[in-house]
Symmetry: C2
DNA sequence: CCGGATCCTTATAGATACTG
DNA sequence: CAGTATCTATAAGGATCCGG
């Protein structure tokens, strides 16, 4: 393990940083939050990472048990990386980091974002507004060629995954990742995006409004 | 700003990592969680950090608004570093990292820990067990020469700071940071430490038991 | 085409010494 | 006390190449 550089402390925070605190490590993990990915998927999602660094991080993260490698069955050859159960428990860390970063007074937080990241923002910030009654619904969200399904059960975000809901959804949304990001960030109302022809809804628009209302990011600290 | 290396993404997680993801940055912030510290305090708390790196991190973290420098008033010359309000909002990040790291199946999590870190573990893991009725109490904890005060109000951890409670406490605990760590980690019961002469309690021992019971760390994932 | 490994360059961290 | 200067050791960045 060449990444043997350690903080050498008994503190659990320092220990976590020993495991996932190196450059790129958490972003690699982030890319696996919605499921297994192959090496080339990761390269595409993180265009700025050097292949040597990606290889090294994958080895390190596998060695400490955050992710595992899995060979695909013959029909679809290749190998993928996926989070272990313990790796998936980094979710609260992502939540906390994203909430803090979203409140950053430093910069307008611009730059490119993947479709996965936009959808994950929904998971990160999902917190049903108080005083609203819980609802349940299944959503299909189509961002360009990417498809996602969302399940809300009794006001809680029950699942969020790539792919369409095999059993059909109550609401189908068709838009781009940019518009969807703007809608979730409350930079544009759903109705406005629909009126502008940038977003199509099939099913009850009220259910979509509820979803968007529940996913509002926190205000900036600046 | 020489630390201009950025992930260049619009994702709030990547943005957070741009701000506090560099080596040592979060550990420097951790050392300020209980209040202002001078440069030499930080060096003592983080013996492995090079002075050049410490200087650089302090500059970077000040530049982005996580901490500020403050000159002390004439009687006690010198300068200190302290978290800004926004920097203090990293608390949930520490909480999540500490909880995840505490469940690490990788290593027994050994090494040296500062008194501050042990006390912060209490804040990190404080979560009153369900079914217990809320209580209120003020504690003074003396670990060697370090003194801390803890306030629990109606079952919630209302404050945790360096120094003694100027108005007196309901319970005074006198021990070492090692024993206190073991007691909080439930590696040793309070009564056992008292019987072994490693821990002294003034006041109601039941109040101390409640505090310790509320601060249990999560079990390992291994 | 996928999944990396190699090679070389540049940036950052580590270690030690020293100064306003 | 609060850092800076200097030097070395690692790790990251970037381009290219290779085997299955």
């Amino acid at each position: 393990m060449p990444g043997k550089r350690s903080y050498g402390e008994g503190c659990p925070i320092a220990h976590s940083l020993d495991l996932v605190g190196e450059r790129w490590a958490l972003l690699v993990v982030r890319e696996l939050r919605l499921g297994a990915r192959r090496y080339s998927d990761l390269q595409e999602a993180l265009p700025a990472i050097a292949p040597t660094v990606l290889s090294q991080r994958l080895k390190d993260l596998e060695a400490v048990g955050v992710l595992r490698r899995r060979e695909l069955e013959p029909p679809a050859a290749g190998r993928v990386y996926e989070l272990t159960e313990w790796g998936a428990e980094l979710e609260p860390v992502f939540r906390a980091l994203a909430r803090w970063g979203a409140r950053s007074p430093v910069v307008p937080l611009s730059g490119q974002v993947s479709a996965d990241s936009v959808m994950l923002g929904l998971r990160t910030f999902f917190a049903p507004p108080e005083g609203h009654e819980p609802w349940s619904a299944r959503y299909d969200v189509l961002l360009g060629r990417e498809r996602y399904r969302i399940g809300v059960e009794r006001g809680r975000l029950a699942h969020l995954a790539r792919g369409r809901d095999p059993e059909g959804a109550d609401v189908v949304v068709r838009t781009t990742k940019e518009t969807w990001r703007r809608v979730l960030a409350r930079e544009e109302p759903v109705a406005g995006a629909v009126a502008a022809g940038r977003l199509e809804v099939e099913g009850d628009p009220g259910l979509l409004e509820r979803l968007v209302a529940a996913a509002a990011p926190p205000p900036s600290a600046g």
